[in-house]
Symmetry: C2
Subunit: 159 residues, 2 copies
DNA sequence: ATAAGAGCTATAGCTACTGGAGCTTCAAGA
DNA sequence: TCTTGAAGCTCCAGTAGCTATAGCTCTTAT
């Protein structure tokens, strides 16, 4: 399965068509071209991008992968694999299962977050002075090092 | 060196102490100062930041809130509320429950993602040419535009 | 002919930090 | 006292994945 654009194409899409069809913004399409995910299409006489069917298929692949939460770099790898049909499927599996693992980790983290927030909210308020939530937030965690190991949302791993 | 409850009487912390104690990086502390979350402390003769107990408590509050996934702006609001103890607790509750809702939404989304990834991975691999994952990624699901706004082939633009 | 809408490039902004360069200051040991 | 290494300082750039704006040009319909 090749997802690269071919020159022999009778369909002509403007960038707006492509964006609408794939459900992303025009700027996003240009951005994908800029970072090398989507190859630069030929231009019209007025310097406007002219896309073909293969571009559409490749963009659809990209969007679908992004929807599933694959990073741009993962999409790059997946595209590379999709373009070399003779290789084993193993590496594709690898990427997908690593991603699944991350997703499951995220779910775990969010669930414990949910529990804590629910606990915080199980008091009803008077004045802020006695606000349980503020109170709870003021207490530092037992394990300070834990915070530095996680990203901003407390979910994504730190770099 | 950790700032234990005993050591907290010593109200002279270096930025490194503060960072270690709160479990974030030195740069992060400076960043919080820069964006106005943490007030600028006095400096030593050699121009180094000297923090006190109140700084420590405020930073702990910030880190705790961030761990719970509150955005910087939310933390700003929460801090503001914590600083005006006569107001009602209602707004604090508001922020927290809005946040809980977001967390629950995220969990829902990730769970459906998880289901799909598991489905993708439920096969064994041969060549990429027949790879189910690549196949599945190539099929777009959420592009109502493609089917409804385009011609019968779903690809040709209306021009 | 004209006007609306779409496309073009270039650049900046978003979140919440993180890392590095190139410097100064501090504290401890010889 | 000198030295050395760690820690501090400021300033700037970079991360991911777009999104938005400014100020143009091009296309298309009337």
């Amino acid at each position: 399965m090749m997802i690269s654009p071919q020159a022999i194409d009778n369909t002509n899409f403007s960038i707006g068509d492509l964006a609408k069809a794939s459900g992303c913004k025009v700027q996003t399409v240009r951005y994908y071209e800029q970072i090398g995910l989507l190859p630069a299409p030929p231009r019209s006489l007025g310097n406007q991008r002219v896309y073909g069917d293969a571009h559409f298929r490749r963009l659809a692949f990209i969007r679908r992968s992004r929807e599933l939460g694959f990073t741009i770099d993962m999409v790059r790898e997946l595209l590379g694999m999709a373009d070399t049909p003779d290789r084993s499927c193993e590496m594709v599996d690898n990427i997908a299962s690593r991603h699944l693992w991350h997703v499951q980790e995220k779910i775990r983290a969010l669930k414990s977050l949910q529990r804590e927030l629910k606990r915080l909210l199980r008091h009803d308020g008077g004045k802020v002075a006695e606000c349980q939530i503020i109170e709870a937030l003021s207490k530092s965690t037992t394990d300070g090092a834990r915070a530095s190991k996680r990203g901003a949302d407390g979910l994504t791993p730190a770099r």
